[in-house]
Symmetry: C2
């Protein structure tokens, strides 16, 4: 097992922390943001662009890759790293989230989930063992235990039963693990119910994983509920293991997550809104596709040092997006990922300087400028 996590420093005024994860494919500096590469590509980006931006780890989606092109094909290609030409760390999810959110006619049983593909209606079955088998074939550095992620709003009884099953599935996932080069993280569920979250942490820690994720947040609950749940749950988690908040979020979510002790994040937001013509700037999120930017020859974000902001104007990017030119989406995607990666770098630096709260305050002061207009 080549996986390790080292806590480097803790912020004295909050739960923010700076750490380092070592994997077979390289180091990850936490807190970290992981771009999502659903179908063996971070949409619109090459691996060398990701490296240029400073991306240290990306996420792959087990459900999508299992269906197409198939984990067997990727195994034949000598794994996901080789197949997609990404030599740095990869984390794959368990497929659970997509089985529950995308597939049709699913039936949850103790042994696993029966479902139909959202693409062609073909019938499939994924169990904890099957998820591990697929993830082994993909060959990611960090793999996730198969879980159920109940969407909000749900009732207490449903979440409670689901959680018990997820705990049993986590144990089966661990037992199914054979590939010693991969590290299996357990997922803490329990919705917004504190006693269930507490139970989940206890049981997962008892199974003993090299890292723990918090699942089931940012799935429809109020922002306050998400933050309350984090504030309650994170302190219960072991300090010497990385903490991963799944599927979150906006720049504000990242900052608030770090404040509460989270080390890892992933989200499709920066790449998805890029494809819809929106970008993040130091003064807030703007829709650069809008007519307002037609003859705006300033860079997309005046305070940004990325390739896009150093070489192109808002007017040009807007022109490309309006004309549906591929380069338009390439530039917005590149910039948005840089914005997220650079935000995390600044967060890490501020934790090292013990000035994270000041950084947070200054960020918000500037970031809300556009919305305040």
């Amino acid at each position: 097992m080549s996986f390790s996590f080292k806590l480097i420093t803790k912020d004295s005024d909050s739960n923010a922390r700076r750490g380092k994860i070592k994997t077979q494919h390289g180091e990850i500096h936490t807190p970290i943001f992981m771009p999502v590469g659903t179908q063996a590509t971070v949409k619109a980006m090459t691996p060398r662009e990701l490296k240029e931006i400073g991306v240290e780890i990306i996420l792959g989606n087990t459900y999508h890759l299992y269906l197409r092109p198939g984990h067997k094909l990727i195994e034949e290609a000598k794994g996901l790293h080789k197949f997609m030409n990404w030599e740095k760390p990869i984390l794959t999810d368990s497929g659970g989230f997509q089985v529950f959110s995308l597939s049709d006619l699913r039936e949850i049983k103790e042994e696993g989930v029966y479902f139909q593909s959202h693409i062609d209606g073909s019938k499939h079955f994924i169990s904890p063992e099957k998820s591990v088998e697929i993830q082994n074939a993909l060959g990611a550095d960090i793999v996730m235990a198969f879980d159920e992620c109940p969407p909000e709003p749900t009732n207490y009884d449903y979440v409670s039963n689901s959680l018990d099953r997820t705990i049993r599935w986590a144990l089966r996932s661990k037992e199914a693990m054979e590939n010693v080069d991969q590290s299996l993280f357990g997922i803490i569920q329990g919705g917004i119910f504190k006693d269930l979250r507490e139970k989940s942490v206890k049981e997962m820690v008892q199974i003993n994983f090299p890292g723990y994720a918090i699942g089931g947040l940012s799935v429809g609950e109020a922002k306050k509920d998400m933050l309350d749940t984090l504030e309650f749950t994170v302190p219960l988690m072991p300090e010497d293991k990385p903490r991963y908040l799944m599927g979150v979020g906006t720049p504000e979510d990242l900052i608030e997550g770090v404040l509460r002790g989270i080390d890892m994040f992933d989200c499709v937001m920066p790449t998805r809104i890029a494809r819809h013509g929106s970008i993040y700037t130091s003064e807030g999120r703007i829709t650069i596709r809008n007519a307002t930017y037609k003859d705006d020859f300033d860079p997309p974000d005046k305070d940004c040092n990325c390739y896009v902001c150093q070489n192109y104007s808002r007017a040009y990017v807007r022109h490309l997006l309006k004309r549906k030119e591929i380069l338009g989406v390439r530039l917005t995607t590149y910039h948005n990922l840089y914005f997220f990666i650079n935000l995390m770098k600044k967060i890490r630096d501020s934790i090292e300087d013990n000035s994270f709260l000041t950084f947070r305050e200054n960020f918000y002061k500037k970031y809300n400028k556009i919305n305040a207009k």
Copy 2:
């Protein structure tokens, strides 16, 4: 006028020639292929990728840029080079070809062409003077005289009358030129009629341009007619000026054009077929999107040294194309442009070595392998 053309060497066994064009934005080594950047972007590519491939000059489309985003906006952005972040040479066409092939309800008069936009039906007028005005605003290094390009098949009388008008328009284009940093090329028309081509060359040479294009080929005539017309027309053209064959063509067309004394080419083919899932390889053109390549882990072209062929498999590129991932089209476009640029480099080297005919023979021997199967 910073424009110059120098003939470096001539092949002793054919009309192939090696030359060098100097422009305000840098040198161009001929014979050269110019990728097409219709809407201020070579589709799917960044300028730095074009530079990495070895592209020395690109083409911009006056008709498209005039309509959107508008030449005034590009002028405000300090010209097309700055707007699209391409600091090497640019050639813009006159808009004539698109006015005749794309626009609706056009009416050709002596003063110019009245037409409706193919996008929104808005009414426009382009004359030789207007074309020069637009091209001046765009700021390309090489600009083209406004002409009519009659599509095949047409009759002799139509082509003859059209040609006379094109000659008068060429004179007006030259008189309208004011920007001394731009070089205006004349366009030789005349369809597949030898006497008209001869007349066209004579009249254009009399007006005296720094370079001459051959227009009106590869517009529907038989391949043999195109080659015959080239064989007849090129030797009539001045030896000390660059010769540009517009809108051509396939790898074979480039080789046959060079053989007959052409120095410059442009074509949408490599970028367009890339978007439809086809690539050029040293053994011929293949549709990499096809199921045949599903589990083919060889590089797209085994004999290619480009970024794509060094890092990705046919199976991966096919997966991306099938999933409509932007990266798929990026990789096929990158490879196809590299294939064309590298083909021209090998052609240039072979002319320098006085081995162009051997190169041509060996190329065909290998290139037709797939079709021969």
